[in-house]
């Protein structure tokens, strides 16, 4: 499950809320990285199973979110 938004800062705030709640330390520094859609307007972050937010949910990210790997 992912949260999506056109406002990147909303997802940054979600990530920071998870980081704070989980108390990562040592090598681990954050819950997830924010994924930017190639269109440059949409953003997504993996939902942590323990943390909910008032954001749009998406079951999976479709292939259009990821550019083809370079061969």
């Amino acid at each position: 499950m992912y949260y999506t938004s056109t406002n990147r800062s909303e997802l940054v705030a979600y990530n920071e809320a998870v980081n704070s709640g989980e108390g990562y330390n040592g090598t681990t520094t954050q819950w997830a990285t924010i994924i930017e859609h190639p269109n440059g307007a949409d953003f997504a972050i993996l939902k942590h199973p323990k943390y909910d937010a008032e954001l749009t949910e998406l079951e999976t990210l479709t292939t259009d979110w990821f550019p083809e790997p370079v061969e």
């Binding site: 108390g23 330390n25 090598t27 681990t28 790997p69």
Partner: protein, 264 residues
């Protein structure tokens, strides 16, 4: 024998009979640029195998070796009934090229509900979540040896050079070397370049040997378990990079690995 030395040797597995009967791989075939494994590869290596984060409280702990193999007893005690994820796969070559992942959701799993994940009866890392980044290793001639199970993007090797559903290399442009398909089952792979000749081996047998002269760009390895958004979904137990062609050592290296993992 002094007690301290006895316990040191005991910890390294000298009296246990554990590990590969042929000895530690890098003791015999030294000179690796980076070496990642869940078994001890070199007598002089005194570090740990991996650093693990447990899922219930996110505490981390280094896990070393016992009888030359991953200390699964300590690993499972640390994880309890939770899952364990690899934050660092330590480089045993002596070059300090550790493979790391600092983002929790991108860390690959080694313990599931308190039980170590295995491949051919040996501890193994389950891919699928993300990649382990390593400082770039560059080389012209090379030998890359890895043991894995599953098909997918295994490593990011340069901008155009990678191992994906097949094993092949490219040093720029759209001209590729010959390739061999990755197998769904546990296999030992070996890709080596010597000057303008490339050899691909699987399970101890040469599959492809082809010349390439169009491009001589150096090899550059920057990630394990995938590249960009493509994560390797299978299991990996060992990944060794030599920045020189191992040529006549190939058979011995493969035998050492197969003696331990019983791959073919």
């Amino acid at each position: 024998m002094k007690k301290a030395k006895y316990f040191y040797l005991l910890r390294r597995g000298f009296f246990s009979g554990g590990g590969a009967a042929a000895g530690l791989l890098l003791d015999t075939y030294s000179g690796a640029a980076a070496a990642y494994s869940l078994r001890l590869l070199r007598t002089a290596y005194s570090g740990n195998a991996i650093r693990v984060r447990r899922s219930d409280d996110n505490e981390e702990q280094d896990i070393g070796f016992r009888n030359n193999e991953l200390d699964t007893s300590t690993l499972e005690t640390f994880c309890g009934t939770s899952d364990g994820f690899v934050t660092t796969w330590y480089d045993q070559s002596g070059n300090g090229v550790d493979a790391t992942q600092s983002t929790a959701s991108n860390q690959n799993q080694i313990v599931a509900s308190g039980t170590t994940i295995t491949l051919s009866g040996k501890p193994s890392i389950q891919g699928g979540n993300g990649q382990l980044a390593i400082s770039s290793i560059s080389a012209n001639d090379f030998s890359i040896i890895h043991i894995n199970e599953g098909v997918g993007f295994l490593a990011k090797i340069g901008g155009y050079i990678r191992i994906s559903d097949y094993l092949r290399y490219n040093f720029g442009g759209n001209s590729y070397t010959s390739s061999i398909a990755l197998a769904a089952n546990l296999s030992l792979y070996n890709g080596s370049r010597d000057g303008t000749s490339l050899t691909l081996r699987r399970n101890g047998s040469e599959m492809v040997s082809s010349p390439f002269t169009s491009n001589t760009t150096a090899l550059s390895v920057t990630a394990l378990f995938g590249q960009e958004a493509s994560n390797y979904p299978g299991k990996v137990s060992e990944f060794i990079i030599y920045d020189s062609n191992q040529g006549s050592n190939m058979s011995g290296i493969e035998t050492n690995i197969n003696d331990f993992y019983s791959i073919y």
